[in-house]
C-alpha cells in the first residue's frame, strides 16, 4: 500500500494529475485536485497510474510514500 499526498501550497490547478489518473484523483470545481492539502492510501493496482500523476505535476506538488 502507498500514500499519495498533495502539497496545498504547491498545487496550482494545472490539472495534469487528475487527467492522467482518473482512478486515483479528481478535480474540484476550482480546478484543483480535490486531494489538495490532503493525502490518502491507495491500493497497489493503481500505483503506476498514481506515479504517472506525480511525475506529471509541473509544480512538484505530489508525493507518494510507502504505507506500512
Amino acid at each position: 500500500m502507498h500514500r499519495i499526498a498533495v502539497d496545498g501550497g504547491r498545487c496550482m490547478g494545472h490539472g495534469m494529475c487528475y487527467s492522467l489518473a482518473p482512478h486515483v484523483l479528481e478535480d474540484d470545481d476550482e480546478g484543483y485536485v480535490s486531494l489538495r492539502d490532503d493525502s490518502k492510501v491507495i491500493p497497489d493496482d493503481v500505483l503506476a497510474e498514481a506515479e504517472d500523476a506525480r511525475e506529471s505535476c509541473p509544480e512538484g506538488a505530489i508525493t507518494i510514500t510507502a504505507e506500512p
Binding site: S19, D27, D29, E30, G31, E59
Partner: protein
C-alpha cells in the same frame, strides 16, 4: 572566456533581441543557444536590461518564489506597460482572493460545459472552407475560433470579435516589443470603453451570476467587500489580452507542424485518443509565451547571480520546454513522452495561466474536428513564414488539400 565576452555579476552578457520578427523557428533556435551558454544570462539588447533564467530547474524554482520575483513586471521585454493588469499584477493574499473568484469560471468543470458550443462553432468554421481545398489557417480559422469561444466564455456577443481582435492585436504588438505606450493607451481606451458599456448594462440589468461573467465579478464579495468597478473593468481587459492571441498562435504552430510532418499527421488523424497528449506535446514544443517577466523585489543571490532589488527578470518558459536536462530528445515531437506535463508553456506558480483548460479544450477539439474532415494537407506556399517577436504568432498559414 575570450577577451570580448563580458559578464555582469559573473553571468555572461548576451544581446539577443527577442523583440524582432524573425523567420519562423529562429526564435526557438536562439532560445536554445542562449540556454546552453549558461543557466543565467544578462541580456543587454536595446531596452531595459534583464536577467535571463534559461533552464527548467531554475525556472521552476523562480516561478515558485513570488515574494522575491513578483509580477509587478509581467514581461521583461516591456517592463513598464503603463497600465495595470489584474490578476497579473496583483500579489500575495489579494491575488489569491481574486484567483478564487476567477478560477471557478475557467476550471475544467466549467469549460466542459462549453463543449457543445465549442465543437459546433469549430465544425461550422471548418466546413465553411473544407470544400474549397485551401484556406489560410490563421485568417479563416485561428482568428475567429478562439476569439468567439473566449467571448462566449465571458457571455459577450461573438459578433464583437472582429473589432475586439483589432484592438487586442494593437495592444500586444506594442506590448510584446516595448512599443509606444501611446499605442497601448489607445488600445486600452477602446477596450475599456467596450467593457464600461457592458458593465453599465449589468449594473442596470444584472444577469445570472452563474452564466454571466461580468455579473459574477460585480456580485463577488471578498471579506464582504465588492470588487470596485474599475477593477472589474481591468480584469475584463486583462483576460481579453491574455486569451485572444495565444490560442490563435498555438493553432498556427500546431497546424504548421502537422502540415510539414506527414508521419505525425497520419498518426494523429487516425487516432483521436492520442490528441490530448499530442496537444500537450505541441504546447511544450511550440511555447507561445516564451518568457515570463518578473520584478526582483529584494536583493538576492540566485545560483551565484547577484540580482538587485528593482532588476527585471526573464523566466525562460520557452527555453525550459526544450531543456535537454529535463526532456530527452527535446526538439523531437514525441506525444508519448512521460513527463510532458512538466512543460511551462502555461507558466507556473500562482500566476499560471488561468485560461489553460479552455485553451487545451479548444486545441483538442480543433485538431479532432479538422482531421475528421481534412486528414491530409500541405503548406500552400514556399514563401518563408515569419514569426512575430515578443510573443510568438504566425500572421498567415496557407494550406491546401485535395477533395
Amino acid at each position: 572566456m575570450s577577451p570580448d565576452e563580458s559578464r555582469r555579476g559573473g553571468c555572461p552578457v548576451v544581446t539577443t533581441d527577442y523583440r524582432s520578427d524573425r523567420p519562423m523557428s529562429e526564435i526557438s533556435a536562439l532560445l536554445g543557444q542562449d540556454r546552453e551558454k549558461a543557466p543565467i544570462l544578462r541580456n543587454e539588447s536595446p531596452g531595459t536590461p534583464f536577467w535571463m533564467i534559461t533552464r527548467h530547474e531554475h525556472a521552476v524554482e523562480a516561478a515558485q518564489m513570488p515574494d522575491v520575483f513578483g509580477t509587478e513586471v509581467i514581461t521583461s521585454l516591456t517592463p513598464d506597460m503603463g497600465i495595470e493588469l489584474r490578476p497579473h499584477n496583483v500579489q500575495g493574499e489579494e491575488h489569491l482572493q481574486l484567483r478564487k473568484v476567477l478560477n471557478r469560471w475557467f476550471a475544467p468543470a466549467a469549460i466542459r460545459k462549453l463543449e457543445p458550443l465549442v465543437r459546433r462553432r469549430c465544425v461550422e468554421l471548418i466546413e465553411g472552407f473544407a470544400g474549397r481545398g485551401e484556406c489560410d489557417l490563421v485568417a479563416d480559422f485561428a482568428f475567429l475560433y478562439p476569439t468567439e469561444m473566449f467571448l462566449a466564455t465571458l457571455n459577450l456577443p461573438m459578433e464583437d470579435g472582429l473589432e475586439m481582435i483589432h484592438w487586442v492585436d494593437v495592444f500586444i504588438n506594442a506590448a510584446a516589443k516595448d512599443g509606444a505606450k501611446t499605442e497601448i493607451a489607445r488600445a486600452s481606451e477602446w477596450i475599456y470603453g467596450y467593457f464600461n458599456a457592458a458593465i453599465d448594462d449589468r449594473i442596470a440589468h444584472p444577469r445570472d451570476a452563474e452564466s454571466d461573467f461580468i455579473t459574477r465579478l460585480l456580485s463577488a464579495r471578498t471579506d464582504g467587500e465588492a470588487m470596485p468597478r474599475q477593477q472589474v473593468r481591468t480584469v475584463c481587459l486583462s483576460l481579453m489580452l491574455a486569451g485572444l492571441e495565444t490560442t490563435r498562435a498555438a493553432l498556427g504552430y500546431i497546424f504548421h507542424h502537422l502540415a510539414t510532418h506527414p508521419d505525425d499527421r497520419r498518426r494523429i488523424a487516425g487516432n483521436p485518443a492520442l490528441t490530448p497528449k499530442a496537444v500537450e506535446e505541441f504546447l511544450r514544443l511550440y511555447p507561445i509565451v516564451f518568457q515570463g517577466g518578473r520584478l526582483v523585489k529584494q536583493d538576492v543571490d540566485f545560483h551565484g547571480c547577484p540580482m538587485k532589488k528593482g532588476d527585471v527578470l526573464w523566466i525562460g518558459f520557452g527555453s525550459s520546454n526544450t531543456d535537454p536536462r529535463k526532456f530527452d530528445d527535446p526538439d523531437e515531437f514525441r506525444p508519448d513522452r512521460g513527463n510532458v506535463g512538466n512543460h511551462l508553456a502555461f507558466g507556473l506558480g500562482p500566476h499560471r495561466c488561468l485560461g489553460m483548460h479552455l485553451a487545451r479544450h479548444e486545441l483538442v477539439i480543433a485538431v479532432d474536428e479538422w482531421h475528421a474532415r481534412i486528414p491530409d494537407y500541405e503548406l500552400a506556399t514556399d514563401a518563408p513564414l515569419v514569426e512575430r517577436g515578443g510573443q510568438l504568432l504566425l500572421e498567415s498559414l496557407p494550406l491546401r488539400w485535395e477533395n
